[in-house]
């Protein structure tokens, strides 16, 4: 776990970063220790999180081994949030299966139901929703301000519509029954807003290192990341009709808002997304497509930067550290940028050299 001095430095540097006053990039380096100790796999953790027979306190205790199996360098810090993307759909009635081996969870289509049969409402006593609350409280008690806490990864409204209806149906629905799609989207948003406010409220009640989210930036004010992966399948008109309005609402609801821009298919909507008023953009290039430092993405970085938004990308290995140089050189600044890097303990020195190069306190 981090020293008090380190925690204070992180809090103050991140606050400066959010305010566009930090004169260096945020660079997080999280390395897997060679000796993983008693840490269990990602899939096993996920399974425990969803297993109501295991008390939340026990889940929290188990995460201690996970936190201790990592080295946190630069701007990295231990954190917890309830996985996985689109969990709100399950709180609204979708069934799910957990794939322990792959460490992922699938939310299932609500087969046999027509669009108008889907009338989701979030019940305060919903077991999964409550589990989210119990977990936050248990982690607060166990770790105090040693970690940052995020709300569960609720998901994007149209992504949940798609997940509930099945992808092909949801695409046809846009033509066959647009009003019902909007009604469902709106019902999900109502549930989202309720879950968002209540979870944030619980995080605020006890001292932790701060707020975080499924993209682990640290913030002293509520922070969350919006998304719509569904948008890669639709054009600008339908984006305006079915997605943009909700994104506008999310961007004003969330004090420190970020948008997860995922893959080449999403780029056509970037201008409209920026207009929604998000504080920052996360860019994911997508498997199989050109790397982060490809010339093809220059426009994205420039647009985000020129609009005065924060920009975050991932470096998944030591080889990808070059992305930092690329973006810094391209934009001619080290400010307003965040790089979240992962690697192995044996490569510690290489990662440290990057922290040094960009004046990031170790």
């Amino acid at each position: 776990m981090l020293t008090n001095e380190k925690k204070e430095q992180l809090v103050s540097d991140y606050e400066a970063w959010w305010n566009h006053e930090l004169k260096r990039p945020i660079i997080q380096v999280t390395l897997a220790k060679n000796d993983q100790g008693k840490a269990v796999s990602r899939g096993q953790l996920l399974d425990m999180v969803y297993d109501y027979s295991i008390p939340a306190q026990e889940v929290a205790k188990c995460y201690r081994d996970t936190f201790e199996s990592q080295i946190y360098l630069g701007d990295a810090f231990p954190h917890f949030y309830m996985r996985s993307t689109g969990i709100l759909g399950a709180m609204l009635g979708q069934t799910y299966t957990i794939d322990v081996e792959r460490g992922t969870i699938w939310f299932e289509e609500m087969k046999g139901k027509e669009l108008e049969d889907l009338q989701p409402k979030l019940a305060e006593d919903n077991q999964l929703y409550q589990r989210g609350i119990d977990l936050i409280k248990a982690f607060q008690e166990e770790f105090k301000d040693d970690i940052a806490l995020g709300i569960p990864n609720l998901g994007g409204m149209m992504d949940i519509v798609e997940s509930m209806r099945g992808a092909n149906n949801s695409l046809m629905d846009l033509y066959d029954d647009p009003d019902e799609v909007k009604r469902l989207n709106n019902d999900i948003y109502t549930a989202y807003e309720m879950a968002y406010k209540n979870y944030m409220d619980i995080i605020s009640q006890e001292k932790s290192m701060g707020y975080t989210g499924w993209t682990p930036l640290l913030s002293q004010k509520p922070y969350f990341i919006s998304q719509c992966d569904f948008c890669c399948m639709i054009g600008p008109d339908q984006f305006e009709e079915f997605v943009a309005g909700t994104l506008d609402k999310e961007a004003s609801l969330i004090e420190r808002s970020f948008y997860h821009l995922d893959g080449p298919g999403a780029v056509k909507h970037l201008d409209r997304i920026i207009e929604s008023g998000f504080g920052g953009i996360q860019w994911i290039n997508g498997a199989g497509s050109k790397p982060i430092d490809d010339e093809g993405w220059t426009d994205i970085y420039q647009k985000v930067h020129n609009a005065g938004l924060l920009l975050q990308v991932y470096c998944y290995s030591k080889e990808e550290l070059r992305f930092i140089d690329h973006i810094v050189n391209l934009l001619g600044t080290t400010e307003g940028l965040a790089f979240i890097c992962n690697g192995q303990e044996e490569d510690k020195e290489i990662f440290e050299s990057y922290l040094e190069k960009y004046n990031v306190p170790k």
Binding site: R102, L171, Y175, I234, G235, A287, G288, S289
Partner: protein, 212 residues
Amino acid sequence: MEKLNEISELLQKGRAKNVAILVQEALDEGIDAKVILSDALLAGMGIVGEKFKKEEVFVPEVLIAARAMNKGVEVLKPYLQDSDSQGKGKAILGTVKGDLHDIGKNLVKIMLEGKGIEVIDLGTDVSAETFIEEAKKNNADIICCSALLTTTMPEMKRVVELVKSENLDVKIMIGGAPVNQDFCDEIGADYYTDDAASAADVAKSILEEAKC
């Protein structure tokens, strides 16, 4: 012809009911079923494919156009029976094992059918063995594999290996968001394209080459 253009226009807008009605009218007027198929339905779908490639229309528009095409084809079917037997070639299509993404695959099917190619759609979660079995059983010309997950892409390599080990005379075409030309070269598949309309163009040229 006015009527055929009208059908094509309606198809592009996804107006399934109207397409079916107008196809029937065209038949009643004595227009040949094959002409309606090629100059109205397939022509309309071809335009949708081109527009999709240029990002002028998107996935929902392609899906509703395809639904309209299918409605039209249903009306034509009884009149097309004899021309069916001399199809332009056969393709086996599926999403590989472990992978349930099928929107892209379905678009590939639509575009291939739009070129008059017979498609045997094996659905999703298809093992390499099943691809091979079905290709042999149906005497297919092309195997088309789709994958959307990096974890399921290796199954495509198994398809290539099995085709080689069994010495089958069939081309392998692969695609899906995480797949690219480098991966295609690396596993020794025959063709890769990054969108469904180009996939159909390539398939058509493969079949034409095979014929001469």
